[in-house]
C-alpha cells in the first residue's frame, strides 16, 4: 500500500488592527465595538501607567522585584474583556495584570503581592481567579482541573489561563494540554508569546515555528494572533469561549507580542538584546495603534488624551496609596493560614516565638530562667 497522508493541519494568523491603526473591516465583524475599543484603550493606558509606577516603586526601594507588563497590554485587555467576569475563571501567570483587574482583582493587591505580602493574593468575594503564579508553567494544569470541575458540576462558563512562550517547555504544560483535551474541558490556553524567557529568545526556546502548532498534537483548535491588536485578541478569545461553553472543549491562542521592558526589575535586557529589535517592536506598541484607530474614527484627540493622563495619575496614585497604606502584616499570619485548624505544634511555635529560641515551651524541656538545673 502506498503511503497516505492521515493528518494535515494549518496554523492561521489573525490580525485585524494593523500597526498603522487601520482596521480590516472583513475581520472586524464579531470583534470589538468602537465603544469597547475606547474602553480598552483607556484601560490599557492606565495599565501602562500602573506598570511604570510599579517600576519606580521598586527602583526607589518601596517594592521588591516586579515583572513589567509593558508592551503586552493588548493580550491582557482583549482576552480579559472577552471572558465573562464572575462566570469564567482566570488562572494567571504574572504578565496580565489588566486581565486580573478586569475580572475583579484590585490593582493595589497586585502591588501588595510584589511588596512581599500574601494578602495581595486574597481573592475578593465573587471573583473567580487564582493568585498570580510565580513558578513557571505549572499552573495551567489547575486550569484544566477547574475546567473539568465545571464540566462535572454542569456549570456554564470557561477558564482562561495565561503563560509565556518559555512556559510551554515545561512538562506540565503538555500535561495540562493533554488533560484538557482528553477531558474536553472548557479551557482556553492563552500563550503570551513575548519572544523572550528572561534572556532566552523564542528560537532558542523551541525549534517549532509557532507555539500555536503545539496544540495540534492535542487536536485542539488553535490560532496565532497579533497580540498587540486588541481586536484580534478579543475575537479569537471570544470564539474560543463560545466553543468552550458550547461543549467544544479546549482551545489554544498564541498572542504574538513583545516584552518591551526587562524580564523583571532584577534583570537588565541590554546584556542580551539588540536595541534595534526593541525599537522595532516599540513601533508596534498596542497603545499607539489603538489610539490611531480611535483618532481616525473621530473618537480620540489630544484633549481627551490629556484628560486621560490626568485621570490615570489620580487612579494610580490611589492604587499606590492603598497598597502602601495597609497595616503591616501580623507575624502570626504565617502560622495561622497553614491549615483550617492549626496543629498543636504550630500553635506552640506561634505562641512561643517571641519568648523562646526554639518554638517550644521552655518549661516542657526543663529550662530554668536563672540557669538552675532541673
Amino acid at each position: 500500500m502506498p503511503r497516505e497522508t492521515i493528518y494535515e493541519a494549518k496554523i492561521e494568523y489573525l490580525q485585524i488592527l494593523n500597526e498603522d491603526g487601520v482596521l480590516d473591516e472583513s475581520e472586524a465583524e464579531g470583534s470589538l465595538t468602537d465603544e469597547q475599543a475606547l474602553e480598552l484603550y483607556e484601560q490599557m493606558w492606565i495599565y501602562r501607567r500602573f506598570d511604570e509606577i510599579a517600576f519606580k516603586l521598586q527602583r526607589s526601594g518601596r517594592m521588591g522585584t516586579y515583572p513589567q507588563n509593558k508592551g503586552q497590554e493588548a493580550n491582557a485587555a482583549g482576552s480579559g474583556l472577552a471572558m465573562q467576569r464572575g462566570v469564567d475563571w482566570v488562572v494567571p501567570c504574572y504578565r496580565e495584570n489588566l486581565a486580573m483587574h478586569l475580572h475583579g482583582m484590585p490593582y493595589h493587591q497586585i502591588l501588595m503581592h510584589w511588596m512581599g505580602d500574601e494578602r495581595g493574593n486574597m481573592i475578593p468575594e465573587g471573583v473567580k481567579m487564582t493568585p498570580l503564579s510565580v513558578p513557571i508553567g505549572t499552573h495551567m494544569l489547575h486550569a484544566a482541573g477547574i475546567g473539568w470541575a465545571m464540566k462535572l458540576r454542569g456549570e456554564s462558563g470557561a477558564v482562561i489561563t495565561y503563560f509565556g512562550d518559555g512556559a510551554t517547555s515545561e512538562g506540565d504544560f503538555h500535561g495540562a494540554m493533554n488533560f484538557a483535551s482528553v477531558l474536553q474541558a472548557p479551557v482556553i490556553f492563552f500563550c503570551q508569546n513575548n519572544q523572550w524567557a528572561i534572556s532566552v529568545p523564542f528560537e532558542q526556546q523551541m525549534h517549532s515555528r509557532t507555539v500555536a502548532q503545539k496544540a495540534l498534537a492535542y487536536d485542539m483548535p488553535t490560532i496565532r494572533v497579533d497580540g498587540n491588536d486588541i481586536f484580534a485578541v478579543y475575537k479569537a478569545t471570544k470564539e474560543a469561549r463560545e466553543r468552550a461553553v458550547n461543549g467544544g472543549g479546549p482551545s489554544f491562542i498564541e498572542g504574538m507580542t513583545y516584552r518591551l521592558a526587562d524580564h523583571t526589575t532584577a534583570d537588565d535586557a541590554r546584556r542580551y538584546r539588540d536595541p534595534a529589535e526593541v525599537e522595532a517592536w516599540a513601533e508596534k506598541d498596542p497603545l499607539i495603534r489603538t489610539r490611531k484607530y480611535l483618532a481616525s474614527k473621530g473618537l480620540w484627540d489630544d484633549e481627551k488624551q490629556a484628560l486621560l493622563g490626568e485621570r490615570a495619575e489620580k487612579i494610580v496614585g490611589e492604587i499606590v496609596k492603598a497598597a502602601e497604606g495597609v497595616e503591616p502584616p501580623r507575624t502570626e499570619d504565617f502560622f495561622d493560614y497553614m491549615f483550617a485548624e492549626p496543629t498543636p505544634e504550630l500553635v506552640e511555635q506561634r505562641d512561643t516565638m517571641r519568648t523562646s529560641s526554639i518554638g517550644v515551651n521552655p518549661g516542657q524541656i526543663g529550662l530554668r530562667a536563672q540557669g538552675e538545673r532541673v
Binding site: 512581599g116 505580602d117 500574601e118 518559555g166 536563672q370
Partner: protein, 324 residues
C-alpha cells in the same frame, strides 16, 4: 591574592575546570550570554563557547534529565536550577534517576553531575525564591549535598563536586553571594566533600550550622558575654555530615545548638541531634537545641526576617542551652 565574592569564586572555579577538562559543560536557563540571573556564569560563554555554556529551554526536569544523559555518555555536566524553589519539576529526575543509577545498574551506569542551585532567604525575593530544601535531598539516598558559605570554601568544594564520580547538589546561599570578599588562590585546590570546618574555637557550647546562617551565628556569638566561649562549626557539606568533627567538639563542650533556615520538623537539626546523642550521650550537659525556621511556608518577604533565625533568636538559644 585576589579578594573575591562568593559569586566570583564560583565563577573562577567553573572557568578553571572548563579549561582543565573539556568534558565539563554548563547548562541551564539564562546561563549563556546573560551569565545567569546572579551572574555566576558571567563571561564563560564568551570564553568557552556557547555550546559549552548552553542556554536551555525553560524546563527544570529537562535540564536535569538531559544532564543525566550527558553524564552517562562521558560528559561532566553542571546543570543550574535558577532558584531552589524551581527544583520541584526536576525532583523526579534528581531523586528517582540521578540518585539511583549507580545502584540500579550495580555500578555500570554512573552520573558524575554537579547541580548548582542558589538557596535560602533574606534577599527580599518573590515567592519560591527563598526556601531551604537541603534536608529533602539529604533524606534521598544517592546524593551528596554541599552548601559552602565562603568564597574560598566554595571554590574548593565546587572543584571537588565536579570531580566527584557521583551526583552532587551544590547549594549557593544567595544572601552571601556578594556580602563580603576574601582571598581566593587562583590555583587549583580542593576541599573534601564531607569535611566540616571549625570557624570559632570554644569550650562551653558547640553551635552547628551551614550556609548563610553561619553569619547570623557569628553575630549572635559576638553579642554574648565575654566569658562565654562558643565553638562554631560550619558543616559546609550537609550530606554526608561530618559527625566526627561535631562529636569531637560536643564531647569537649557538652552542649550543642543546631541552627538552620529550613523548617524544624524533620529538618537536618533533627538528624544532627540524633547523631549527637548517639555519639556524645554521656558528655551531654543539656538536650541538643534547635534554632530553625518554623514549620510554616516561608513567608513572603515582608515577614521573612521574622521567620529566619537571626542573631537575637540564636543568642537566646545559646543562652537557654547554657542555662540548662
Amino acid at each position: 591574592m585576589a579578594k573575591l565574592t562568593l559569586v566570583q569564586a564560583i565563577n573562577q572555579a567553573l572557568d578553571h575546570e572548563m579549561t582543565r577538562d573539556d568534558r565539563v559543560i554548563i547548562l541551564g536557563e539564562d546561563v549563556g550570554k546573560n551569565g545567569g540571573v546572579f551572574r555566576v556564569t558571567e563571561g564563560l560563554a564568551e570564553k568557552h563557547g556557547e555550546h559549552r555554556v548552553q542556554n536551555t529551554p525553560l524546563d527544570e526536569s529537562g535540564i536535569i534529565g538531559a544532564a543525566i544523559g550527558l553524564a552517562m555518555a562521558g560528559m561532566r555536566p553542571i546543570p543550574e536550577i535558577q532558584f531552589e524553589g524551581f527544583m520541584g519539576p526536576a525532583y523526579d529526575q534528581i531523586v528517582n534517576h540521578a540518585a539511583r543509577y549507580r545502584a540500579r545498574s550495580r555500578g555500570t551506569v554512573t552520573i558524575p553531575m554537579t547541580i548548582r542551585v542558589p538557596v535560602g532567604g533574606g534577599i527580599h525575593a518573590p515567592e519560591l525564591h527563598s526556601d531551604s530544601p537541603e534536608a529533602i535531598y539529604t533524606h534521598s539516598p544517592g546524593l551528596k549535598v554541599v552548601m559552602p558559605c565562603t568564597p574560598y570554601d566554595a571554590k574548593g568544594l565546587l572543584l571537588s563536586a565536579i570531580r566527584d564520580p557521583d551526583p552532587v547538589i551544590f547549594f549557593e546561599p544567595k544572601r552571601v553571594y556578594r556580602s563580603f570578599r576574601e582571598e581566593v588562590p587562583e590555583e587549583d585546590y580542593t576541599i573534601p566533600i564531607g569535611e566540616a570546618k571549625v570557624v570559632n574555637d570554644g569550650d562551653d557550647l558547640t553551635v552547628v550550622t551551614w550556609g548563610a546562617s553561619v553569619f547570623q551565628c557569628l553575630e549572635a556569638i559576638d553579642g554574648l558575654p565575654d566569658d562565654v566561649s562558643v565553638e562554631l562549626i560550619d558543616l559546609r557539606t550537609v550530606d554526608p555530615i561530618d559527625i566526627d568533627c561535631i562529636a569531637e567538639s560536643v564531647q569537649k563542650t557538652g552542649r550543642c545548638v543546631v541552627v538552620h533556615e529550613a523548617p524544624r520538623t524533620a529538618g537536618l537539626g533533627a538528624e544532627i541531634s540524633a547523631l549527637v546523642q548517639e555519639r556524645c550521650f554521656l558528655h551531654l550537659e543539656a538536650p541538643v537545641q534547635r534554632v530553625t525556621g518554623f514549620d510554616t511556608i516561608m513567608p513572603y518577604y515582608k515577614l521573612e526576617l521574622e521567620y529566619l533565625p537571626d542573631a537575637e533568636r540564636i543568642g537566646k538559644g545559646i543562652t537557654e542551652c547554657l542555662a540548662y
